[in-house]
Symmetry: C2
Subunit: 323 residues, 2 copies
């Protein structure tokens, strides 16, 4: 398994070789691979690796458990790992490998279809706000929240993207801005805290974000801060859309309250990493010495704040928002 | 005029000597001095310096103009500079100096009174969220939003503070966390984007923030992101309070729409500064190379989201929120 190390992007582009399932699990845990769809596909390949490495049921079970739990919030990870596990039990290492590949191919096709449906939302001159990174770095290709942007661009529609920086890991500033730059799409970074002001001034026409898990009632877990953007969007009549692959939907969660929210290390809040003016990557402290931090990585946006969920089958109005 | 250089805090504590009014104006512009009340007091001393430096009306007028316009959003700066200017015209350098000193002393007393009134809001065990820094670093002493906390602490009330990190300059992480640490008050940093999640879980009892300018209808301009916190607070029934000195009120602004919002350099969004592990202060890039940013520094919270404004005279319900 080969993965772009997203902890180094955009300052250094390195492909990591993940030779064993344990390395793949570590890459998911440490966010070398990140973004729910990419995590799922990586988990699937990890499971296929486990079948290749050992025929011992106990060893395979252990990989099933560890890969499925490498990140807690994304819905699809455990689902994909389960599917590849079942394929491996039935068809051995070759069966697991085929299933992992099928899932990766299906993910590419699904993102393309999300783009086709979502592009209808983007009018010429639109100002689109997005949060975190649900772009091609978070998927196998095209992204989820960005797929409609790339499809619109391909059709010659002109638009401008406001990219929430998205602390503490700044995936908007580091990954989305880099992606959009690579694709030649006009954009400006903003602090995510500025979304309310810009909406109150009428400077945002549309919000599109990704999703890590969607409950049965349509509540959406996504990167922390998404909920505040959704509250501001409702206040100012800005349509708020979520783009998501099918396996993000979790019918076993009745509502967002049941979605587990990952708490990550306080170090992510207290320190920043990036290149100094000589290009040397440094880690600096950005908080007062002795300060402690809490770091919930996701939040839940209730269905009633969501205008629609863009899927490969079309734009759906989530359960609770229909009533 | 002596000022703690707040651009270096909390990693280095240096007192800057501001020998001439132009240095004082620069210190306000570059945020060596920051926080609306502290800016006002510094502006007043700057104006007194101008009278001491030159008896030329044109030179004094120039200082009046430049000091008053050194930061655009804080209401009190121009008001204080005007008062000291009037005192200097009537009483010369000594009169200006006395007026500047009087304003500084009154500011200390006003913060104390804000604390006395605000402390009634803080019950034992309360979890209080604050945004940015409206502490003693932003004033002459005690702070505005923090004054009720210090008063509650002095009365033996136990509480916990959630400190919004407050990008792009992270005044919460750098200044408020440092202040509260110095005062022995329990606190945790959070990304400001996490305020919605924590409120939705019932983990916040009260919000207290400062203000840079308050319009006649009670709309409040404060550090960008305040508005999103206020929207989430309303959604979850968390009382949202603003602590403000009298000269923050601007009757000449009918509503928040007329308050000028300062746009600061994109560099603040694209870079971070702090000590590396050897304690050397470094400036690193945190955004994709080539990315551009917009950086509005304040936003406006409408009066209807505000439970009360804590002033030295008591807690007032803002104009538009009364109807």
């Amino acid at each position: 398994v080969f993965a772009i190390d997203q902890n180094l992007l955009p300052f250094s582009f390195e492909i990591r070789r993940l030779a064993e399932w344990r390395e793949t699990a570590d890459a998911i845990r440490t966010m070398v691979v990140r973004g729910a769809p990419a995590i799922g596909v990586a988990g699937g390949y990890g499971m296929a690796q486990a079948f290749r490495e050992s025929a011992e049921p106990a060893a395979v079970e252990r990989a099933l458990h560890e890969l499925g739990a490498a990140r807690p919030t994304a819905r699809n990870l455990a689902a994909v790992v389960d599917r590849v596990h079942a394929a491996g039990r039935a068809g051995g290492p070759a069966g697991a490998q085929r299933e992992a590949q099928r899932i990766a191919d299906a993910s590419v096709e699904e993102c393309r279809a999300i783009g086709e449906h979502g592009t209808a939302l983007i009018r010429d001159g639109a100002r689109v706000l997005t949060h975190c990174n649900a772009g091609w770095l978070a998927t196998v290709d095209r992204g989820t929240a960005t797929a409609p942007l790339y499809a619109a661009r391909d059709r010659g529609i002109g638009f401008h993207v406001l990219v929430d920086k998205t602390g503490p890991r700044d995936q908007g500033a580091r990954l989305t801005a880099w992606e959009l730059g690579q694709e030649g799409i006009r954009h400006d970074l903003i602090e995510e805290s500025a979304a309310g002001l810009l909406m109150s001034r009428g400077e945002v026409d549309l919000v599109i974000v990704g999703a890590d898990r969607i409950a049965a009632n349509g509540d959406v877990a996504n990167k922390v801060g998404t909920y505040l953007v959704a509250l501001a969007a409702r206040e100012h009549g800005v349509p708020f859309y979520v783009a998501a692959p099918r396996d993000t939907f979790d019918p076993s969660c009745a509502s967002g309250r049941e979605i587990p929210i990952e708490e990550r290390s306080e170090e992510e809040v207290l320190f920043k990493t990036g290149p100094d003016e000589d290009g040397r990557v440094r880690r600096i402290r950005v908080a007062a010495p002795g300060a402690h931090a809490r770091n919930p990585a996701f939040d839940v946006t209730p269905a009633r704040l969501i205008a629609g969920i863009i899927t490969s089958a079309g734009i759906e109005v989530p359960g609770d928002a229909r009533s």
